[in-house]
Symmetry: C2
C-alpha cells in the first residue's frame, strides 16, 4: 500500500529538515481556520463517561440544523478520514470507481489500496461509463471548483441509472451553504455527503466529521465504526458551536482570506483557485517557492502531480501575513 500522503500536520517533518522547532513555524499547509472558535464550557461528565446517547443526539440535532439536512440526522464520525478508510466497503468490487480529479489524494490512495480500480474523471458525462462509486469534493480541494447543486444532483441521477453511489465531500462547504446537497440526501438514496467539522471551526485536533446518508448506508457506517467512535468532548463542543455565532466565525475567515489575497497579489503571484480557507497559486517553479518559504519556516502545500501549484492557507493574524509577505519578497523565486 502507498504510504499515507503527508498533508497538513507535517510541521514536525518540515522542522526536522529545515530547522526550528515546530512552534516556530507558520503552518499555511492546511485549509483549517487559523483562528479557532473559543471552546464553550461543557459538562465535565463528557470527559469521564463513555459518550452517552443523549450527548450524541444533541450533536446530531445541531448538525441537522447547521448542515440543513431537511430533518435527516447526520452521523458523527471521528474525522472524515475515518470514513474514507471505510469507503472501499460501500464500493462494488466488481465495478470501477470514479474520482473527480485532481482532488484530495486520500480517496484514490484508500480505494486503490483496497484493490479497487479507480479512474480519474473530470466531467459529469464521464459518469455514463457505469461506475459503482463516484467521489466528488465540492468545493474542490485544491482547485476550489464549485459545482452547483443541480449539477451534483444530476450526477447522482446518472450514478443511480447504473446502481452506483455518489459521495460528495463538502469538507470546505461551510462557507458555501447554498451549494450543499445535504438537504437533498433524504430524497436521493444513492447520495452520501461528508462534512468536516474541524476546518471551519478551526478545531481539526478534535477529529470530528458528519456523514449525511440514508438509513441503509448510514447504518453500515455506524456498524463499521462501532459504538463510541467519537469522543464525548467532540460531541458536546460541536453541538454548542454549531448552534453558536457561526456568522462571526465566517466574518473572521473572510477577513483572513482578504489579507492572504492581498499579500499574494502584492507579491505578484497568480491565484488560480481556492476556497475561503486557502488560495491556490500557479507558479513556474512552485516547488522552489515551497522550499524558499520553508527556509523562512513557513510551510505551504505542494503537489507532486502538479509542480506548478502551491496551496497556501490563512495566517492567524496580521503578523503572519507580514511574515509571509516578507518571505515572498526575499524568496526571489
Amino acid at each position: 500500500m502507498d504510504a499515507p500522503i503527508i498533508h497538513g500536520g507535517g510541521i514536525t517533518e518540515a522542522a526536522a529538515h529545515f530547522g526550528g522547532t515546530p512552534e516556530d513555524w507558520l503552518d499555511l499547509s492546511t485549509g483549517i481556520n487559523p483562528c479557532p472558535a473559543a471552546l464553550p464550557a461543557i459538562d465535565a461528565g463528557v470527559w469521564h463517561r463513555l459518550p452517552d446517547r443523549h450527548v450524541e443526539e444533541a450533536a446530531r440535532i445541531a448538525a441537522s440544523r447547521y448542515y440543513r439536512t431537511d430533518g435527516l440526522m447526520p452521523l458523527p464520525v471521528p474525522g472524515t478520514q475515518s470514513v474514507i478508510q471505510l469507503l472501499p466497503r460501500i464500493a462494488d468490487p466488481a465495478k470501477r470507481s470514479a474520482i473527480f480529479a485532481p482532488t484530495y489524494g486520500e480517496y484514490a490512495r484508500v480505494l486503490k489500496a483496497a484493490g479497487l480500480v479507480v479512474d480519474s474523471v473530470t466531467c459529469a458525462d464521464d459518469l455514463q461509463a457505469g461506475y459503482g462509486l463516484a467521489v466528488v469534493v465540492n468545493p474542490n480541494n485544491p482547485t476550489g471548483r464549485l459545482i452547483p447543486p443541480d449539477e451534483v444532483l444530476a450526477m447522482a441521477q446518472a450514478m443511480r441509472a447504473h446502481g452506483g453511489l455518489l459521495v460528495v465531500d463538502e469538507a470546505f462547504g461551510d462557507l458555501e451553504p447554498e451549494a450543499s446537497v445535504a438537504r437533498h440526501v433524504a430524497a436521493c438514496d444513492n447520495l452520501v455527503v461528508f462534512r468536516s467539522f474541524g476546518k471551519f471551526f478551526g478545531l481539526a485536533g478534535l477529529r470530528l466529521g458528519f456523514i449525511v446518508a440514508n438509513p441503509p448506508i448510514e447504518e453500515s457506517f455506524r456498524e463499521w465504526l462501532g459504538p463510541w467512535s467519537v469522543s464525548g468532548p467532540a460531541l458536546a463542543l460541536s453541538a454548542k458551536l454549531m448552534e453558536g455565532d457561526t456568522q462571526r466565525i465566517r466574518a473572521g475567515i473572510a477577513q483572513r482570506k482578504a489579507a492572504l489575497d492581498a499579500v499574494l497579489c502584492s507579491a505578484g503571484l497568480q491565484v488560480v483557485g481556492g476556497t475561503g480557507l486557502f488560495a491556490l497559486v500557479e507558479h513556474e517553479r512552485a516547488h522552489d517557492l515551497h522550499a524558499a518559504l520553508c527556509k523562512a519556516h513557513i510551510l505551504t502545500r505542494k503537489f507532486d502531480y502538479n509542480p506548478r501549484w502551491l496551496r497556501i492557507g490563512l495566517a492567524p493574524d496580521a503578523g503572519g501575513d507580514r511574515r509571509l509577505a516578507e518571505a515572498l519578497n526575499r524568496g526571489g523565486v
Copy 2:
C-alpha cells in the same frame, strides 16, 4: 449482524424506561474509575491542528513507560473498540477463532459478524485445536480471573505452533502491572496487547487506547485506522497523565473499591469475582435485583448469558455508597 451490546453509557435508555433524568442516575454499570483524574493543562494548539507527529510521539513514549513495554512503542488508537472492529482483518478466515469465555461481548459479536467461526474456550489446553486467532481478556471482565504472565506466554507459544495470533486485552490491567505481558511483546511476534486508557484514569469520554504489537501487525492497524485517528487533546492529555501521579489514582480507586466491598458485604451479597474497578455479584435473581436498583435510579450491569450475575462498578463518593446501600436494603430481593 447483531446489534451492539448495550454496556456502559446506557443511562439514557435506563432513564427513559425507569424515569429520572440521566444526571439523576448513579451509573455503576461500567468499570470506569468514577473519580476522573484532573485534566492537566495542554497546549491550545492540540485542539486546533491536525494531531502532529511530535504530539503522537510524546504519547507513545509516555505509554511505553507506563505500560512497561521494554522499548516497544505502543500505537495510540481511538478506544479499544476501534481495534476490536478491525480484529477480523488479522484473523485467518480459513481458521476458527477462540475467545476465552465468558468475557467482554464485543469480541464475539464483531468476529461473528465478519463471518468468522468463533469457539468459546475456557483453558489453555483448548488452544491445541489450531486456531488462527485467540482472544483472552486479562484480568477478565466480568469474572476478574487473572492468568499469570507465564501462562499467557505459554498460550502465545501454543498459538504460534499453528501459526496463530494471541490478543491479550489488558483493559483492566492498570491495577495489576505485574500481570501484564506488554513487556514480552517485542520478543513474541504473535502476541498483541490491547490497553485501555479511559478506565483507570476515569476518562472514557476521551476515546483512547493503545496497542502493543510488533511492526507488521502494528503497521497494519495503523494503516487501517488511517492518519489522525486519535484526537489531539487525547494524545496530549494522556502523555501528561501517564507521566503524572498514577499512585494517587491507584490509591483513590482502592479506597472506592474497599467502600463498595463493604456495602456489598453488609447487604449480604455474595461477591464471586471482580477487579479493582468492579465487583461481580452472584445472586439467585440477579435480574430482579438489577430492576430493583433501576427503580432507585442506580444502573448496574446484568448479563443475558448468566441470570445469576450482576456487575457493580465503583460509586464516586461516600454519598453514592450510601445510596447503593439503602437501595439494596429497600430492594428486598
